[in-house]
């Protein structure tokens, strides 16, 4: 089951059509369960020792659900598709389509025990107007955010909403961390808007903690 899911992820990354848009500068973009089966032994050679079927190791029932989110739902029910997003030349390249958001493909999956699951999306774009993450302007501590993929889901409760200077996003705070406790992090642009300086001067960072295990 795990193997199948991972293959599905590879396929999703392969076909994901990702455009690149920055706050200002456009740039080019990239785009079975273990075979089980104890076989029955048919030992033809005369042997005093019987051949037994080896037991096939199985996952314990407590196996954690983990998944790459394919949708995110905000308080109030607004929902958006989530596409894998890569880092290119230091910039996280989120979907150009502003109704979509991007999951950083180097970040944790929903349900992992460690690390941030990072989802970033446009607050707006010059060509398409308001983006899905403009909804974040009204999110508050205590709100519940749900991510899903197929029949799986994971719920998170918002713990903090911060505005961080853009140049400090990667160096201050734990938004992008991959070795601490698991959390969901939603990122968009905010702060002051200066068209002559390439857009917004800050990132808005929403951190949320898991409400129980992923299902």
């Amino acid at each position: 089951m795990l193997l199948t899911r991972r293959r599905a992820l590879v396929a999703a990354i392969g076909v994901g059509a990702l455009g690149l848009v920055g706050c200002g500068q456009p740039s080019p973009g990239p785009g079975a369960a273990p075979s089980a089966g104890g076989a029955r032994a048919a030992s033809a050679s005369p042997s005093p020792d019987p051949v037994e079927d080896a037991r096939v190791g199985a996952p314990a029932p407590s196996t954690r659900v983990r998944f790459v989110p394919t949708s995110v739902t905000l308080p109030g029910g607004a929902s958006a598709p989530v596409r894998p997003a890569r880092t290119v030349d230091g910039e996280l390249v989120v979907p150009e389509e502003v109704a979509h958001v991007g999951w950083w493909d180097g970040s944790a999956e929903a349900g992992d025990p460690f690390g941030s699951t990072v989802i970033a999306g446009h607050v707006d774009s010059a060509s398409e107007g308001l983006g899905f993450f403009a909804h974040l302007r009204t999110i508050a501590r205590g709100d519940v955010v749900t991510v899903r993929a197929g029949r799986h889901s994971a719920r998170y409760r918002v713990h903090a909403v911060r505005t961080v200077a853009k140049q400090a996003l990667a160096t201050s705070g734990s938004a992008l961390q991959q070795d601490g406790d698991h959390q969901l992090v939603l990122i968009t642009c905010g702060g002051g808007y200066r068209a002559d300086r390439g857009g917004y001067d800050s990132n808005v960072v929403v951190t949320a903690r898991p409400l129980g295990p992923a299902r």
Binding site: G24, Q25, S35, A39, G90, G129, L130, A170, Q178, T188
Partner: protein, 252 residues
């Protein structure tokens, strides 16, 4: 060749972890599948044959040997000690698959060894992280595996395993009965996981005989995912700035 192996478990574990084998990603060169052998029987040295051909001799407790190229189909593995056959087991091998064949003590009887085969999932592992699988092949009932004092692998029975993707660092690992903090059946031991690899940890032995131990098998995989970004630029229009709302988090 049979000898009792009854050093204090902790000393044994330290030795095992420091000489853990690191296997390269498979090439499936000669055969179309590969198999490793994990020796989980305390107090024995074991010889192994696949389909009647001896592939390794004198394997000590907690050692991992291989890979051995095999062909897909039904394969029979024979374990013997000093010429005496311990058991023969067969299992079905799919093309382009990698397996750990573990000979170990079962949960119940003290006398008869068991064989469990685990398929190695060699999918790419996220950059900077490790795929960690803990398997229970010891003579103890279902157990919790505590990692840094938290139960990360819960209620694992003999012959079962659990997988997690974890950051690369050193963890304190202990095994306790399911739902309990004591008695500690194994550890705590320091486990340093290898990034870009499948790290398989097998709990082996029998706490009553003070032979609890760990066999560690690390197999390289590919890496997935891109680097941590320095910048996330997600606004080019300025329209949202026009929606400025008093008290809104975005423009506070």
């Amino acid at each position: 060749m049979t000898k009792r192996w009854s050093r204090p478990a902790l000393l044994g574990i330290a030795a095992v972890l420091s000489m853990a084998g690191l296997s390269a990603a498979p090439s499936y060169a000669a055969g179309d599948a590969e198999v490793y052998v994990v020796q989980g029987l305390p107090g024995r040295t074991v010889d192994v044959a696949v389909d009647g051909h001896t592939v390794a001799k004198g394997i000590k407790t907690a050692a991992v040997v291989g890979p051995f190229d095999i062909s897909s189909g039904k394969r029979t593995v024979t374990f013997s000690d000093d010429g005496k056959v311990l058991l023969r087991s067969s299992f079905s091998v799919k093309p382009k698959s990698s397996w750990d064949v573990v000979v170990h003590l079962p949960a119940e009887t003290k006398t008869k060894p068991a064989v469990t085969v685990f398929r190695n999932d060699l999918s790419d592992v996220p950059r900077g992280k490790a795929s960690l699988t803990v398997a229970h092949t010891a003579q103890v009932p279902a157990a919790d595996i505590r990692v840094d004092d938290k139960v990360l692998f819960a209620d694992v029975a003999n012959g079962q395993s659990l997988n997690l993707v974890v950051p690369v660092r050193t963890y304190k690992v202990a095994i306790v009965p399911t739902g309990k903090a004591a008695p500690v059946l194994l550890g705590p031991v320091d486990l340093t996981v290898t990034g870009g690899a499948l790290n398989r940890v097998y709990a082996i032995g029998d706490p009553e005989e003070k032979t609890m131990n760990v066999a560690l098998h690390v197999i390289r995989t590919g890496s997935s995912g891109s680097d941590q970004p320095d910048r996330v630029d997600t606004g080019t229009g300025g329209q949202a700035a026009g929606l400025r709302q008093l008290g809104s988090a975005l423009w506070r």
